[in-house]
């Protein structure tokens, strides 16, 4: 006890030694020693050495810079080459669509030798691929749009299929993915995994099911056979759930504390925040269904109902000159959509790769 008290009261004296350079402070009247810098004298050999070193530094720096620039140029070349390869087919389709039928058949006569324009056309043995037409004509567009309404009708068909599918799939998917993203449980996780598997199946696996169902529901050979499976496709659900999961939970919590109902949270908070996602998913759905080939071939026997994607492949051999113009017309809506929503699309793809399903 006593010891402790003593120990508690006692102060230990401690001596702190000054650092050697501060030792002058203990001596009264002393001043800090100023170290005079000696002027160095260099010998010639030393100078030469220094210069050599300096030069080597400059050299290595320049080399690094050169490598950097070379790397950039090589990168540009690689990108340029790929860009050229990527764009050639698109540009070719565009320019070819402005050629007159005789020019097309003289250029591509060797390929599509069944061209309908009679025997007088000179057919070269090799294909001449021209980027710039001799005479720019809108003749083919004129034919495609005004003279033969079949193409325009098929184009209209494509629109009729795609637009409702985009709208309804978005609607149903946004609801479902909100359900998936909130209050997750084991059952929901399993169902979500099943959705992913369905999404990943090649179309041919679901070929018979689709056919059977459309017969069962008596929608075989009608537009509904394309529409209804499209509305419920799990693709958008998968993408959208990833979007909604990125919204911080605290935001929903705050809304609930403020007294918002589930529907209000969905429509007033979740959807506005997912605007980018909505656009990008819409674009992806649009491309997917704009390209559909298998579904109409199997579910629609009536050719009047076929979209342009199927129809275009059938006219290839016959009226090749016209096909280019129609291919361009067919290309325009997706490209317009792409130009409008490229940033959103990139964002959407980025999110796709993000958090796992």
């Amino acid at each position: 006890m006593i010891r402790q008290k003593v120990a508690g009261k006692a102060y230990k004296e401690c001596i702190v030694k000054r650092a050697p350079e501060n030792a002058w402070r203990d001596i009264p009247g002393a001043h800090e020693e100023v170290v005079k810098e000696e002027k160095k004298t260099y010998t010639k050999a030393q100078i030469r050495k220094e210069i050599k070193m300096y030069r080597s530094y400059v050299k290595s720096h320049k080399r690094k810079e050169r490598i950097d620039i070379a790397g950039k140029i090589i990168g540009m070349l690689i990108c340029g080459m790929f860009a050229f390869l990527f764009l050639t087919p698109i540009v070719l389709t565009f320019t070819n669509s402005f050629m007159s039928p005789s020019e097309i058949s003289s250029n591509y006569g060797a390929i599509f030798s069944t061209t309908s324009s009679g025997g007088k056309v000179y057919i070269s043995k090799m294909v001449n691929l021209k980027f710039i037409p001799d005479i720019v004509t809108f003749h083919q567009y004129f034919t495609a749009l005004l003279k033969s309404p079949a193409y325009l009708y098929k184009f209209w068909n494509s629109m009729i299929y795609v637009i409702p599918i985009v709208i309804f799939q978005l609607l149903i998917a946004s609801l479902a993915s909100y359900g998936f993203a909130r209050y997750t449980g084991v059952i929901k996780k399993i169902i979500f995994f099943l959705y992913i598997i369905i999404m990943m199946m090649p179309y041919q696996v679901t070929l018979v099911p689709n056919f059977l169902v459309s017969q069962f529901l008596h929608i075989y050979d009608t537009r509904f056979a394309i529409w209804l499976p499209g509305f419920f496709s799990p693709f958008a659900v998968y993408l959208f759930t990833k979007f909604i999961r990125r919204i911080p939970e605290s935001l929903f919590e705050a809304a609930r504390i403020d007294g918002a109902g589930e529907w209000q949270i969905f429509s007033k908070i979740c959807m506005p925040l997912c605007k980018g996602g909505l656009v990008s998913v819409a674009i992806l759905i649009f491309i997917d269904y704009w390209n559909m080939v298998e579904q109409p071939l199997i579910l629609l026997t009536n050719e009047e109902l076929h979209p342009l994607s199927v129809f275009l492949s059938k006219i290839n051999s016959g009226e090749i000159s016209l096909a280019f113009a129609i291919a361009v017309i067919y290309m325009v809506p997706p490209l317009l959509v792409f130009m409008y929503g490229e940033e959103y699309l990139v964002e959407g793809i980025t999110y796709q790769g993000g958090t796992k399903g």
Binding site: M76, L92, L175, F232, A327, G353
Partner: protein, 326 residues
């Protein structure tokens, strides 16, 4: 030595972020305990109502019919409904056309998917290294994705015809003999090129996102340690890319199945042997109303796809763990 240093720094950063996430998780759990259970159940029910429309549709158009397909694969034919066990599978597996188709499909995927991953990763790395005109290049690479198949097929026929451009360039400029691309053993090459053309941009964007998620401090630290580009790639970036590589190969695999559309539009239902895919086989069986064989083939294909997808997901989960912390 350098590598070791890098890795230890890596680990410290991971530890930190993991701790943060765990803390957040715990506070979250504590908060949830305050919500009373009755409300919780109500919310759960409401969330199921949100799910309902899609669930019904998917069950009706994809789920239940799939069960019918499984049923069909075990019966003799859709009229007699005799149970035949695995006989359908046996006949399908013995069928030479099926084997050829399966081999072609496998070969195509085995060639196209790795190529798509490597090339798009390369493109993404090049684009990420701050070359001028980055966004312009990005749109150029992405644009093929938007071009409708029907339009592409037309130009592809022109390019790869016996008298087409590719032969002309190869023949005149490089002195190769002419090849009938679409009607020879070289046909898959044409399709691989088409596949790459269409999908590289999409994959590239996925990789670019992954590359930009690599923390800058780590790269800076590595550069201070004088790690060269090769080392930086293999000991830092690869960790952050791993899960994306898995995802990209998954998506490429799925897209490689979709190339059937192009092949079909270009060459019809009975193309040259080397282009005869499983999808052709199924399509032709469908046209012949041979449902039981088709069902068996479909189940086999679905099984393979599910296995591959599950394996990829599993690998993704394991590899991605050290970066994403679950």
């Amino acid at each position: 030595m350098k590598r070791k240093n890098l890795k230890s720094l890596d680990k410290i950063l991971f530890e930190n972020s993991r701790r943060k996430i765990e803390e957040e998780h715990q506070t979250h759990i504590v908060n949830n305990h305050h919500v009373n259970t009755q409300k919780k159940i109500k919310q759960r029910i409401i969330s199921w109502i949100f799910l309902l429309p899609s669930l019904i549709g998917v069950l009706l158009f994809f789920g239940a019919p799939f069960a019918v397909v499984i049923y069909y694969s075990f019966i003799s034919n859709p009229i007699q409904h005799l149970f035949v066990g695995t006989a359908n599978y046996y006949w399908v597996l013995r069928n030479a056309a099926f084997r050829m188709a399966a081999f072609n499909t496998l070969r195509f995927s085995a060639i196209a998917v790795p190529l798509a991953v490597v090339l798009s990763l390369m493109l993404a790395m090049v684009l990420e290294s701050s070359i001028p005109g980055k966004s312009a290049f990005r749109s150029m690479f992405l644009s093929p994705m938007m071009v409708p198949i029907a339009s592409v097929v037309l130009i592809w026929q022109v390019l790869f015809h016996y008298n087409g451009l590719t032969n002309r360039v190869l023949n005149v400029a490089l002195g190769f003999t002419k090849i009938d691309w679409l009607k020879s053993k070289y046909a898959p090459i044409v399709i691989v090129i088409l596949f790459l053309w269409k999908n590289l941009g999409y994959n590239m964007i996925l990789f670019m996102a992954a590359l930009s998620s690599v923390p800058v401090e780590l790269l800076e630290a590595a550069r201070l340690e004088k790690a060269n580009r090769w080392q930086i790639f293999w000991s830092i970036k690869i960790h952050y890319l791993a899960s994306t590589i898995m995802f990209v190969s998954l998506m490429s695999l799925i897209n490689s199945f979709k190339t059937f559309r192009e092949i079909y539009l270009m060459t019809g239902g009975y193309p040259y042997e080397s282009l005869y895919m499983l999808q052709h086989y199924m399509n032709n069986k469908f046209n012949k109303l041979d449902y039981q064989d088709l069902s068996a083939a479909a189940i086999l294909m679905a099984g393979v796809v599910i296995v591959v997808v599950a394996v990829l997901f599993y690998i993704e989960g394991r590899v991605g763990k050290d970066v994403e912390n679950g």
